[in-house]
């Protein structure tokens, strides 16, 4: 029996097939399918039913500490009408899993969640149709409870008694409508995350914890400075250690050892025996942002809205905001395991990695090793918290290079804290110039916005050359890839959230991407959205104060979107914004507000920050309202928003990557401090659930508005404005 899904009755409200605008003469383009189904169309790529009553769900998106795997399980269980306990989430693996590119940009719920909603709905319909066929009844009369199909006469058939392998052996049609939000029983409820028990019981969970048979331990000796070349190497002392093999390929140097602590010792000895050339040099630390404007630039106007009538500008205000380079600073260091097997035509490479994009990583490894892609298998295994393009991909190449000297044994490489902080890709420095033209009431008539930054993307798998760290140091080195930005339609990079969502009669926004890249930078949480919202929302606050208008009221004058207005008003009300002046506060206290529609297409988030000026900027409390459309797992959303806000508070009051003329000096936690338990603010999050709106991600929404709200609160407390991040005591003093 091979059911044609097209014979299935589309449920009411099923999405109509989108016809291509221009139909090619020969092969008509396949219908567009929802979410990642469009690029991974086979149903059996997503779902499998095991005879023992387990539903295997195979997402291409991966767990990076954000709890996505649990949310995706909820979605699949909802549509299939099975208990959550029946769902087993399968780790992503190249060749097996859907290729969903990169787990990034708060897109997993949109892309993978949407695919699973539709795949689940279609799978359920196919199973019901098959039961109906066997019983010769109308599928519409059947009921399902936890995977058990029953008819009016009381007959029962479980999903796992049907030949789901045959039923799912097809492309999805996208013609079966998922449940309406009102029918949800699991989506929209808080469920405990699947991964947390392993983590609190200390069970092996991370790629760091894998212990493959015969596994050896690899470590890399990084160059003395970025771009430095190895001139000579005395490796005798390292080689004298028991079980140590030294690996060298040009300026890439490392060791493989039988014991991990011996690998560490060997690298320390290699360091003493290595002579390096000068590095390529780093930009000035003083005047960095001025220097950025002098660099060769790729300049693009991304918004050019001109007023139809000449605006009656009576006054121009020019404001400049800056952001430093930042580090991802995950608590766990990047880690990977690689194993070579076979030789010649039979050569195969297996990799275990916490990469955000296993197919993309595979493409770069394919270039470096000249291997056909099917001969490389990469399996995702969790790593420590991932907030963007960190060292996960880089360490995978390190492991592959070192494993070549391990005679077929797997080699695990764990980066040092110094590698993690100083050699992972960094978040780019940014410089923003705003010119606002005001009318007599101080309202904004024209808005000119320029942003200077490196691109925010050097992810692997997208360029003709590998972008992985070690590739630049090989005997046959690859050029350093210069970071680019994703298309604005997918959120952009440095221009993310650069277009202000205010109703200005005139708005011109220009992005200047640097074509030089002395620090290796890439995507970190919210990308340009962090600095752009810091700048836009700081400027709105400044202009409100200049106009003598309350900052909430001033924003509302320029806003039309009801969802934006709702988060702003919700946060303001819960923080008792308008009661501030009539209530008692500590000396040096202030409050500030800011909001974002993340990527200008995603979640709405408004933040009220309350600070107290002590020796440092003490962030006391963050009151947050968020609207992610349809909420899948409320506690998961709150956890992400809370975490994003606390991380942003840390960036905003503490963090800047230190470096000198040659090297990154942020090499340990003392050189790169982050907020600790005593320093983090209280965070209160409320979700405005909109079950009929598209579900969007929550991970990055809080980053930008938290920064601006804190800066605005500092200005409120002190009456002076700090426009350069981070808001350190020195910066605050200088502004006074």
């Amino acid at each position: 029996m091979n059911l044609d899904p097209r014979t299935l009755e589309p449920a009411p409200g099923a999405a109509a097939t989108v016809a291509p605008a221009v139909a090619p003469a020969a092969a008509p383009a396949p219908a567009k399918l929802p979410g990642s189904l469009n690029t991974n169309r086979r149903l059996d790529r997503w779902l499998r039913i095991l005879p023992e009553g387990i539903i295997e769900v195979m997402p291409g998106k991966v767990e990076i500490g954000q709890g996505i795997v649990t949310a995706l399980a909820q979605i699949a269980a909802e549509e299939l009408d099975v208990d959550l306990s029946r769902v087993r989430m399968v780790r992503a693996k190249t060749g097996m899993s859907p290729d969903e590119a990169v787990t990034s940009g708060s897109q997993s719920v949109q892309e993978c969640g949407t695919a699973l909603r539709h795949a689940g709905a279609e799978a359920r319909a196919l199973l019901l149709a098959e039961a109906a066929r066997q019983w010769s009844v109308d599928a519409g009369t059947l009921q399902v409870s936890d995977g058990l199909i029953s008819d009016v006469s009381g007959r029962k058939l479980a999903y796992w008694q049907l030949d789901s392998a045959v039923l799912f052996d097809r492309e999805t049609s996208g013609q079966v409508a998922p449940k309406a939000a009102t029918a949800h029983r699991l989506v929209g409820t808080t469920v405990e995350r699947f991964d947390i028990p392993d983590k609190v019981y200390g069970r092996a969970r991370f790629v760091h914890d894998m212990a493959l048979p015969g596994m050896r331990y690899g470590r890399v000796l990084r160059p003395a400075a970025p771009g430095a070349r190895l001139q000579s190497l005395d490796d005798a002392a390292a080689r004298a250690l028991p079980g140590v093999v030294v690996v060298r390929d040009g300026s890439f140097v490392g060791v493989v050892a039988e014991r991990e602590e011996v690998a560490l010792k060997a690298v320390a000895l290699l360091r003493k025996g290595a002579v390096w050339s000068e590095g390529a040099g780093l930009p000035p630390t003083e005047g960095l942002h001025d220097w950025m404007r002098t660099q060769p630039l790729d300049t693009k106007v991304i918004e050019d809205k001109r007023a139809t009538a000449p605006a009656r500008v009576v006054r121009d205000v020019s404001l400049r905001y800056t952001k430093p380079y930042l580090a991802h600073a995950s608590i766990g260091a990047s880690c990977a395991i690689a194993q070579w097997q076979g030789a010649g035509e039979q050569k195969r490479l297996a990799v275990w990695s916490h990469s955000q994009g296993i197919y993309n990583l595979r493409a770069d490894l394919g270039i470096v090793f000249g291997l056909p892609l099917p001969d490389i298998t990469i399996e995702h295994v969790e790593g420590a918290g991932c907030y963007g393009h960190n060292g996960a991909d880089d360490v995978a190449l390190d492991a592959c290079l070192l494993a070549r000297a391990a005679d077929g044994s797997p080699v695990q490489v764990v980066w040092s804290r110094e590698e993690e902080l100083a050699w992972s890709p960094h978040s780019p420095a940014m410089d923003i110039q705003i010119k606002a033209g005001l009318n007599a009431e101080g309202n904004i008539l024209s808005w000119t916005y320029d942003v200077w930054s490196n691109g925010h993307g050097i992810r692997p798998g997208r360029a003709k050359i590998p972008t992985l760290l070690a590739a630049r140091y090989l005997e046959k080195p690859y050029e350093q890839f210069i970071a680019v930005n994703a298309p604005l339609a997918s959120g952009g990079g440095s221009e993310r959230n650069a277009i202000a969502l205010y109703d200005f009669p005139e708005q011109v926004v220009t992005n200047h991407r640097l074509l030089t890249m002395p620090l290796r930078v890439s995507a970190m949480r919210a990308l340009g959205g962090y600095a752009n919202i810091f700048a836009i929302e700081s400027a709105m606050d400044e202009l409100a104060l200049q106009a003598g208008v309350d900052p909430v009221e001033y924003r509302l004058r320029h806003m039309k979107d009801p969802r934006a207005i709702a988060v702003l008003q919700n946060a303001a009300a819960r923080a008792r914004w308008s009661a501030w002046d009539s209530e008692e506060h500590e000396e040096g206290a202030g409050h500030g507000i800011a909001w974002v529609k993340y990527k200008n297409t995603g979640a709405y988030c408004a933040v009220v920050a309350e600070v107290v000026m002590m020796e440092v900027v003490k962030v006391k409390r963050l009151v947050i309202a968020v609207d992610v459309g349809l909420t899948i797992n409320p506690d998961g959303v709150i956890n992400q928003i809370e975490g994003g806000a606390i991380q942003s508070a840390s960036w905003t009051v503490k963090e800047a990557l230190g470096y000198d003329a040659q090297r990154i000096t942020a090499t340990d936690w003392e050189q790169y401090p982050i907020l600790n338990f005593s320093e983090v603010p209280a965070v209160e999050v409320e979700i405005i659930n909109r079950p009929d709106e598209r579900a969007v991600g929550a991970g990055e929404a809080a980053s930008g508005p938290t920064a601006a709200a804190i800066a605005n609160a500092v200005a409120h407390a002190l009456g002076v404005r700090v426009r350069d991040l981070p808001l350190t005591p020195e910066r605050v003093m200088a502004a006074m």
């Binding site: 990076i64 500490g65 709890g67 019981y201 260091a333 907030y387 804290r417 600790n676 338990f677």
Partner: protein, 156 residues
């Protein structure tokens, strides 16, 4: 030089064949397959590798095997299991006090040391006790709630 060292780990004598300057962290993880104790920085700054040594929370990355000899080492696995969880482990699940969870075991160890010496800590005392444990995901407040919940449960 490599030698056999006997350690008391989670109430059991365990033999490790390693040089006595080996960090306890690697003996636990690689020789004894106790992977719950995690490498974070190698310098005792972040707390991810904390274990109890005679009841005190210490960084196992900075504790060499010779210094652990004759002492009782308790790792996250020794604190409790899914079948017999420690109150802290139960509370961390109840409060969903993790995101990536990489720092969790070290945090729970620090909290266990705190609750042993101070059964009813104030919120401020909990925060202070955890200041040498770093969390990057921003789950601090959930963690503090979980520790307070466990303290309450243990006192009841």
């Amino acid at each position: 030089m490599s030698q056999t060292i006997t350690l008391n780990v989670n109430g059991q004598p365990r033999e490790v064949a390693a040089s006595e300057d080996t960090p306890l962290l690697y003996a636990l993880r690689n020789d004894l397959n106790l992977k719950g104790t995690r490498f974070g920085c190698g310098a005792g700054h972040c707390g991810a590798c904390r274990v109890l040594l005679d009841g005190h929370a210490v960084a196992s990355c900075e504790t060499q095997l010779w210094a652990a000899r004759g002492k009782e080492v308790t790792t996250i696995e020794g604190l409790g299991t899914a079948d017999a969880p420690h109150a802290l482990q139960r509370a961390f699940i109840a409060e969903q006090a993790a995101q990536c969870g990489y720092c969790s075991s070290g945090v729970i160890i620090s909290a266990a040391a705190l609750l042993a010496r101070c059964p009813r800590p104030s919120e401020g005392e909990v925060r202070e006790a955890l200041d040498r444990n770093l969390c990057r995901c921003g789950t601090h407040n959930r963690i503090v709630r979980a520790v307070m919940r466990a303290a309450q449960e243990m006192a009841a």
